[in-house]
């Protein structure tokens, strides 16, 4: 009997057999429910809390409206968006040709690239900023511009963009594409732009979304370099009025959720997103 069911199980088409035999054990259900609670209770609480503590006659969305009315909210949000987009732009210009080049001409350097791509994990933001600060303080013109954050975030995004591009390039027959383009008379920049880039679209979009998520949420470096990005603003507002801080948290939750949903819809799903989590911009 056991053998028969085992054979039935091996074939994915025979659902009826599988359903009939395997009811979920209670303890499995317990863990699933517990995890769902861990995930959902804070979100529920954020929504509840951000709608609470409101005086009579005020809108239930009072805290959201207060925040939206604050010119600093808009300023910091746009600053973060701007920094994120600059980070993506610099990262792509730096990484796409580099990873392409390694795959095409210097496959021996792959091991070196792999090693470099774990370095940002070894040197978390708080540590990197300690080493960078004396150096940056000497370059005053750069130190006072928010663009400096983008230049630093490129380093944090590197592991994820590298892994996305590396996987993307592994999946295509690079040699053949380049040879074909060459034999049709295309030079290298044109090949890269017109042949390779379209083939890497999914990897580039995926890597860019992860980069945006990192740059939007980063707090450590932004606060220590004293730029009023969205997360620094959230912190400042929240420590004086918790309700507003929680409302802002919900807004960034929606933002992260949107970015990850886009990533999931791209079909890369869990694994691409898992990569992000290993960053330490927490």
């Amino acid at each position: 009997m056991a053998q028969v069911t085992a054979v039935a199980e091996a074939r994915p088409s025979s659902h009826r057999f599988r359903r009939a035999r395997s009811r979920i054990p209670v303890w499995h259900l317990t863990w699933l429910v517990l995890a769902a609670l861990v995930f959902l209770v804070p979100i529920y609480s954020v929504v509840q809390f951000s709608l609470a503590g409101i005086g009579p006659g005020q809108s239930p969305f009072h805290w959201y409206l207060t925040v939206f009315d604050d010119p600093m909210f808009r300023a910091s949000f746009w600053l973060s968006i701007q920094i994120s987009l600059e980070t993506v732009a610099v990262s792509l210009v730096l990484m796409v040709p580099t990873v392409f080049w390694v795959h095409l001409r210097l496959p021996g350097l792959r091991a070196v690239m792999d090693l470099i791509s774990i370095l940002p994990f070894v040197v978390p933001p708080i540590v990197l900023v300690v080493g960078l600060l004396p150096f940056l303080k000497n370059i005053t013109w750069l130190f006072v511009r928010p663009e400096v954050l983008s230049l630093i975030y490129v380093v944090f995004a590197l592991p994820f963009l590298y892994r996305a591009l590396d996987a993307g390039l592994r999946a295509i027959d690079l040699r053949t594409l380049v040879d074909a383009a060459e034999s049709l008379g295309a030079r290298m920049p044109r090949t890269l732009l017109r042949v390779i880039l379209p083939n890497l679209r999914a990897a580039i979009i995926g890597g860019s979304l992860l980069t945006i998520a990192i740059a939007m949420g980063e707090y450590t470096v932004a606060s220590l370099l004293e730029f009023n990005t969205f997360s620094v603003y959230t912190y400042t507002v929240g420590t004086s009025t918790a309700y507003e801080g929680v409302a802002l948290s919900f807004i960034s939750f929606i933002f992260v959720w949107g970015a990850m949903l886009a990533l999931y819809l791209l079909g890369r799903g869990g694994r691409g997103a898992a990569a992000v989590a290993i960053t330490d911009y927490k």
Partner: protein, 299 residues
């Protein structure tokens, strides 16, 4: 392969191949210049500066006093809290994450559960830092929704519990540790071959016996490895703890040393940062060793 073939072909044609090839190799390396320059300026040189700085006085002379400062108050306390917090959150997140990953893969689970858990984990693993801190202040802070709810039920968790305490903080960290563990553990459990499970059950093993004698022994290196990874993940966290108002944590001490007016002491910051690097390198080496061991059985 193709590259090698092309190389020999052109060698036959050109005659003076070795020199040409090595020259083109140098040209190829030149293409890496922008990347290596960037990484040097923004990652390698600052890290080097920091390591050297840990052994220097403000004036630049060699000293070991920064390093010895690590062992004097208040830093040992901060290290203790950081290490305990990282370990506890790795155990909690790792333990539950393993159980959840295993439950999600059970074939009796309705079909929508698995993609729902995976995509939600991807989201939750990225919901960290300042917003996460405030989310838990809204949940389990003194005025939090759950705190108030429990009060109505006659259960007063304060002052025994606090979000700045070890358990409270570890609970908050669960929000990014648990989903990370779920995402990384699912492929590991999927790697347990169906045949093993079937052979075990054909030989009359119960589900418990399968895990006791086959599943766990095979999976243990991966399980430990991922917990070590979670440990490192929690160890370098800063923003979440700062938002919660934790007072004694290595990352927070470093921030105060380079930022504060009274506490300003970059030399000690170098030493603490170096200590963090050493601890993280140890976790990565342990992780890599466990991964190598894990790959013996798992695809």
């Amino acid at each position: 392969m193709a590259l090698g073939e092309l190389g020999t072909q052109s060698a036959v044609r050109a005659g003076s191949a070795p020199r040409k090839r090595s020259r083109s190799r140098w040209w190829a390396l030149l293409g890496m210049l922008p990347f290596f320059a960037y990484i040097s300026i923004f990652l390698l040189i600052p890290t080097g500066e920091l390591i050297v700085g840990a052994f220097r006085t403000q004036a630049g002379a060699f000293t070991l006093s920064n390093i010895s400062d690590i062992f004097h108050a208040p830093y040992p306390q901060a290290f203790e809290f950081s290490l305990e917090l990282s370990a506890l959150s790795a155990l909690m997140g790792g333990g539950l994450g393993f159980l959840v990953a295993n439950a999600v893969l059970h074939h009796g689970v309705p079909r929508f559960v698995r993609p729902a858990f995976i995509s939600f984990s991807g989201m939750a693993a990225n919901f960290a830092g300042v917003p996460l801190g405030f989310a838990y202040i809204a949940t389990l802070g003194t005025l939090g929704v759950v705190t108030t709810l429990l009060q109505h039920l006659g259960l007063f968790i304060y002052p025994a519990f606090s979000l700045q305490g070890l358990f409270g903080c570890a609970l908050v960290y669960m929000y990014f540790q648990l989903p990370l563990m779920i995402l990384l553990m699912i492929p590991v459990i999927e790697g347990l071959r169906r045949e093993w499970r079937e052979s075990a059950s054909n030989l009359g093993a119960s589900s418990f016996e399968f895990w006791r004698y086959v599943g766990l022994p095979v999976i243990t290196p991966s399980l430990l490895g991922l917990m070590v990874l979670l440990f490192g993940n929690a160890f370098s966290a800063y923003a979440t703890a700062q938002t919660l108002g934790v007072s004694s944590l290595v990352t927070i001490d470093i921030a105060n040393l380079i930022n504060g007016d009274i506490t300003f002491d970059p030399q000690d910051a170098y030493a603490l940062a170096l200590a963090m690097i050493v601890i993280i390198v140890i976790t990565i080496v342990v992780y890599a060793l466990l991964q190598r061991r894990a790959s013996r059985w798992l695809r």
